[in-house]
């Protein structure tokens, strides 16, 4: 416990120190870490009560709860970091039920030796993201694992929210004839993160699309008067995976128009080089909207009127299909299946 021998034993040295086993021991070092780092950034009324749990009164409606573990590498990437991502990811999972997210919890698994300066940066970013979204982090936990047993930091966040009475949005509600929309370009997050991976490292101006979507969801829901069947954020596995999930859940097929898919030139270029398909590349600020065809234009207008939906588009249609295939009309006029991803998406070799 070399901390005790320092000249200012009462303060964390955020500039030069690293996480050590004492920060997870339940002793004074842990209390100091919580107070000087986590509490300082996350500061809010419920957290300040200093209990092991958060107590609050939920507003009327159905409660929604979702949890998400974040293990991204690298921790800092163009357009975000693991901190902001862990806030956005869980807010979005809650919001995809049409819910208003209320509170978040955060669990940290820290690896011995992780620089406190990086942790401070990550926690500050989480706090900023939570504040901007208006969803406070009201309870949390910290554990430390030995060097080599973690990858710097893992963050698990859990969110609760409330769906207003009468609103029902669920993956099994997609119906043949429904329109499929998306709020903007696909693949930005995955390509931005890949560009910083150690063994790839290519130059791109591209930023992750990481963003909290609940405000956009609120606007959309009121624009179409709650007439939405499904919402889902196409994160890991990309748009293709999300559509296959919904098709399986609702027992329907889908058909996409390749030419209608919004994809940035930088994403197309990087995917071309690496042999990836943007349909399978991760997003962190996108959502698929499935609504009755007659609501499609209104929904599109509502998306495009919001900063997070400016490049929104109608990309396809739900239809009957006994096999539950998601198909795509290729830009050449042919047709193909957009399948589940098998294994990892790997670059080609020839």
């Amino acid at each position: 416990m070399n901390m005790m021998n320092r000249r200012h034993p009462g303060r964390l040295n955020l500039k030069n120190d690293a996480v050590d086993m004492s920060h997870g021991s339940g002793g004074r070092a842990m209390a100091r870490l919580i107070e000087e780092l986590f509490l300082r950034h996350f500061d809010n009324e419920i957290l300040r009560q200093g209990n092991d749990q958060a107590a609050f009164d939920p507003p009327p409606g159905r409660l929604v709860m979702s949890t998400d573990g974040h293990v991204i590498s690298p921790l800092f990437f163009p357009g975000g970091d693991i901190g902001s991502l862990s806030v956005h990811g869980t807010i979005n999972d809650v919001a995809m039920a049409g819910a208003k997210p209320l509170y978040l919890s955060a669990g940290f698994i820290l690896e011995e030796g992780f620089p406190l300066a990086d942790l401070d940066r990550i926690v500050a970013s989480m706090a900023a993201a939570a504040k901007a979204a208006g969803v406070p982090i009201v309870t949390g936990d910290t554990k430390v694992v030995e060097r080599g047993k973690g990858d710097g930091v893992f963050i698990t966040t859990t969110g609760v929210g409330v769906v207003p009475p009468g609103l029902e949005i669920s993956g099994d509600r997609a119906r043949p004839g429904d329109a499929i929309l998306i709020n903007g370009s696909i693949g930005d997050h995955g390509v931005a993160v890949l560009s910083k991976r150690e063994n790839l490292d290519f130059e791109t101006e591209l930023l992750s699309d990481s963003a909290a979507l609940h405000d956009l969801v609120g606007h959309l829901v009121s624009a179409v008067d709650g007439n939405i069947h499904c919402l889902r954020d196409p994160t890991r596995g990309g748009l293709a995976t999300t559509l296959n999930e919904i098709a399986g859940q609702a027992g329907v097929g889908m058909v996409l128009k390749e030419q209608a898919l919004p994809i940035k030139q930088e994403v197309l270029g990087a995917c071309e080089l690496l042999g990836l398909d943007p349909l399978y590349v991760a997003n962190e600020g996108k959502m698929v909207v499935i609504c009755p065809a007659e609501q499609a234009e209104t929904a599109l207008k509502a998306l495009r009127a919001h900063p997070l939906g400016r490049d929104g588009a109608i990309i396809g249609q739900v239809r009957e299909d006994a096999h539950g295939f998601v198909r795509m009309q290729t830009r050449l006029g042919g047709e193909r299946i957009v399948d589940w991803l098998a294994g990892e998406q790997l670059p080609r070799i020839c």
Binding site: Q249, L332, A342, E344, R348, C350
Partner: protein, 386 residues
């Protein structure tokens, strides 16, 4: 995307498709083998088959380096990977190929073997530099396109005095494989496989040029049109083959002249000739023992040859029974002719190599086109919301 979108233009594609429809005579069939897995992938991914008349058929050839590597050679890589001293550096596509007893490199990795996925030979060299106390073996596979980078890596290792780097060489040659297919009894005598013409390789031809194809265009009287991997390339080349067949010609034509020259890339050829020499014979999955169809590392660079360094013994291991990969690779059968296709063999659970690589005919068919034969594809897809 500049220089890419131009080759995926819908209007041009439609007008080429109409030209093919006008050229193809309804009374005959046009069986065109696309040699390369890259072409197979493009045909399925862009739905090219939907654009051409029904009597113009694509027969999928053996040009997928992952698919043609026999189990015995993969077994050699497994043996290397399982040595404690070794880091095996491999292209990602090899990871899931089923080896003996349903094992694979990805399973060996999970059990503790040190296997690293790399994007290029340079990544493998870097691993060797960073780990001087370990043996780093690069698992080299591929046709003429991937051979020059391997040659560069070996020469670089020699210059740098990298003593812990070696190459498990599985580089194979395109022209001898095509010739072998044309000489096979199914094509020559039994007539069970109709191959009327070829779409010639894109990237491979950028290295070897167009000359190597002249021999079998003449000898076997089959037109060869070398073409690029973009859908418009494939359509235009299909039109050119169809036209040659109608006019009774059997020439080598170069649709991909923006990249491929007659003589090919002389520098790359020289480099390959410095480092490699022909193997007398090499086993291909599906084609069996093909004479002079692969390369080995020359004596002068022998210390970089993993087969010598680790005393690897050649081995022959049979494919999974009832897996039709061998016939599919030869163009004798279609993916849907295989009893395992879509039932027990899918990209998630491949039984044969053609279901692993995205360039394999089975994987391409399953992934992009199984709606055309849904009865063969009724396996329930798993899936869990993230």
């Amino acid at each position: 995307m500049k220089y890419v979108d131009e080759f995926r233009d819908q209007e041009l594609a439609q007008s080429l498709a109409q030209a093919i429809a006008r050229e193809a005579r309804p009374e005959r069939r046009y069986n065109i083998m696309e040699f390369c897995g890259g072409h197979t992938h493009a045909i399925f991914r862009y739905g090219v088959q939907d654009l051409v008349p029904k009597n113009v058929r694509f027969v999928h050839g053996p040009g997928c380096p992952v698919c043609v590597l026999p189990v015995g050679r993969l077994d050699g890589a497994m043996e290397l990977a399982e040595k404690n001293s070794v880091i095996l550096a491999t292209y990602g596509d090899m990871m899931r190929v089923p080896a003996r007893k349903r094992r694979s490199l990805i399973k060996a990795k999970a059990e503790g073997a040190d296997i690293r996925m790399v994007y290029s030979t340079q990544d493998a060299l870097k691993i060797a530099r960073d780990n001087p106390d370990r043996e780093v073996v690069f698992f080299a596979i591929g046709f003429e396109t991937t051979t020059p980078p391997t040659a560069v890596a070996i020469q670089q290792a020699q210059r740098e005095g990298l003593k812990n780097f070696s190459v498990y060489c599985n580089h194979v040659l395109t022209p001898s494989a095509i010739q072998h297919i044309l000489e096979s009894p199914e094509v020559r005598e039994m007539g069970t496989v109709a191959i009327d013409g070829f779409l010639g390789p894109s990237h491979v031809s950028s290295i070897i040029g167009t000359l190597p194809y002249h021999f079998f265009a003449e000898e076997f009287q089959r037109p060869v049109v070398i073409t690029g991997f973009e859908p418009l390339d494939v359509l235009q080349a299909t039109l050119m083959v169809t036209r040659q067949l109608n006019e009774g010609r059997h020439e080598v034509e170069n649709q991909y002249s923006r990249v491929v020259t007659t003589g090919g890339n002389a520098k790359a050829q020289r480099l390959v000739a410095e480092v490699f020499e022909l193997r007398r014979v090499f086993e291909w999955r599906g084609l069996g023992q093909v004479p002079y169809s692969a390369l080995k590392i020359k004596e002068a660079y022998g210390t970089f040859d993993a087969e010598r360094r680790f005393g690897l013994q050649p081995r022959q291991i049979a494919d999974v029974k009832s897996c039709e990969c061998p016939s599919i690779i030869r163009g004798v059968k279609k993916p849907t002719d295989c009893k395992l296709f879509g039932k027990v063999c899918t990209p998630d659970n491949p039984m044969g190599s053609c279901m692993v690589s995205s360039e394999g005919a089975c994987a391409a068919y399953w992934t992009y086109r199984r709606f055309a034969a849904p009865e063969a594809a009724t396996v329930k897809q798993g899936g869990m919301a993230a």
